[in-house]
Subunit: 333 residues, 2 copies
């Protein structure tokens, strides 16, 4: 087993000073090609690696960022976090991924820890409604970007989100185009800015097609794992219902299975479109239509902006909307 080498060891082994080694490693200052080769050779031979604790301390920079995410086992979140982490790694940053479980106290605890660890930047995914960076001690010090849920004050951050409104609008509109006369929206009981946007898109698509939104007839809130009874009731009261726009794919599959259980034929009797384009959508029967968020783009834009903020090459106050795409499958044809 090898021992752990420090920059001092490298200096001694290559017969130069630590300053020179440092310069070679970081390509700073000037040095002869000869010493460069000599030093690099020793580094290679010894397998020397930078001690980041020392470097961080000296430079007051950690080459790491923190990501706050509500639930990493949610497909959309996992997907975008994964892509962000990959891009960050390729750009020399490592990532603390923190699962807040939608708990504001946890969020704060994580933020303090991340601040203490000296992260250079923060990525907040769908944070608490009242997300407030000012709870931290060095508020103006740590730059942060927000994804998915609009923060209260957008002036000191960059906001990146999908075009939830347009996605909902397109999905609902396509239900009409496929022949639906009375589509409704199936949602959960959490209120996030994305959920609000999706609801608005649904409403506007309704009115564009000559219908007024009535929450008692055009909306169902799914709160249980088996919503068969609730849906049965609603359908009995409103037999004209012939389409569902679900606020996410989990609710869409929930609705789908309930409808099948009630003997409905999909898409003949009732059509369904979900949101997020989860992998299993192609394995449901019938296959599930869904609105796909561009997680590649979201991740790329997020990393560009957080690193930009860290390097002072980007500015806050921006609000970036990423287009979405409706994926038509059997459930809405």
């Amino acid at each position: 087993m090898n021992k752990k080498y420090s920059i001092k060891d490298i200096a001694e082994l290559s017969g130069v000073s630590v300053a020179t080694v440092s310069r070679v490693i970081n390509n700073n200052g000037r040095f002869s090609e000869e010493t460069r080769k000599k030093v690099l050779k020793v580094i290679k031979k010894t397998g020397y690696q930078t001690n980041f604790s020392a470097k961080n301390l000296r430079m007051n920079k950690s080459f790491s960022v923190g990501i706050l995410v509500p639930d990493i086992s949610n497909y959309f979140f996992a997907n975008v976090v994964q892509k962000i982490e990959k891009i960050l790694f390729n750009r020399g940053y490592s990532t603390f991924i923190c699962n807040t479980a939608r708990d504001e106290n946890k969020e704060l605890a994580y933020l303090k820890m991340l601040e203490s660890k000296g992260v250079d930047g923060l990525i907040i995914i769908s944070g608490a409604k009242a997300f407030d960076i000012s709870k931290l001690n060095s508020p103006n010090k740590i730059p942060f970007v927000c994804i998915d849920r609009k923060p209260k004050d957008r002036s000191n951050t960059v906001f990146i989100g999908s075009d939830h409104y347009q996605g909902a609008f397109d999905a609902t509109n396509s239900l009409f185009q496929a022949g639906c006369k009375f589509p409704i929206i199936a949602s959960h009981n959490r209120s996030s800015s994305s959920a609000v946007d999706r609801l608005n898109g649904f409403k506007d698509a309704l009115s564009k097609n000559g219908l007024d939104f009535d929450s008692s007839r055009n909306q169902i809130v799914i709160t249980t794992n088996d919503s068969t009874n609730a849906i049965d009731l609603l359908l009995k009261e409103n037999p004209q219902i012939d389409g569902f726009f679900a606020i996410n794919d989990s609710i869409a599959t929930n609705v789908l299975s309930s409808l099948l259980r009630l003997g409905k034929e999909i898409p003949k009797d009732i059509k369904i479109i979900g949101f997020d384009d989860e992998p299993q959508d192609i394995h449901s029967y019938p296959t599930l239509s869904s609105v796909k968020q561009d997680t590649d783009k979201i991740a790329q834009v997020t990393v560009d902006n957080i690193i930009g903020l860290i390097d002072h090459t980007a500015i806050t106050g921006e609000s970036i909307t990423i287009p979405v795409k409706l994926i038509q499958r059997d459930s809405s044809l």
Copy 2:
């Protein structure tokens, strides 16, 4: 905005030396109750937080661990990682979650980075078949535990895995008990120790019920998103097939939708059981039976062991098997 306080500032503000402040913070050495109160008061007022870069440098310990995971958007992995991260955080450790995408080069790159960042321990989830910690520079220095996939050499690590064999055996056996005469296994084309264990469990359940395993008739390897044709073919050749044990839920739903597409009735004509108990199993139609891994237990045991190894209160060489549980739903009744 507050400035950033160092231990030196706290010392000055409370009229003691930095040494005393350090002692109070870490509850080391001895100090009067009076100074303790005084110092803590200043800390509270200033919002002082430890600078971990400095602490790490001094103590040669980072209070952080790295997790290598093949694919965080896989439900099982996301779930166990999430729980591990939570427990670690509660025990004062932060976590670098690294997505290796089943790429050995990436795995190595991550390991080097983590080593450089000075992580105190490593958690390897389902790592490369040839996972070899000796590629690192300080091999004997960083303790690690392995989850899910058995490492080549188990003597210098702790291995933690579900009882895949028993899960597969129970699932297959329950198919027989539900009336199946000729169940087959649906698998993917990756070979992992867990996949091998599950296959063996399936085989043994077969022979216990008087059948010999024949890979051309008792096994189908799913490689595409739509396996309808392949399944159709196999069913035509072997009309006696009346049950599927799928190696995971993704393949199970894939098979399920194909069978429905082929006009089969589930579970009347053919019964299905999957593996991992993913959330959407209860939203498929019919609901999907599955073998549930105890991710709570896995996470807890993992953290106990890695911290144990770090603190030298645990030893390597152990192999811990976590029981699984068959969840019966409509697809196999």
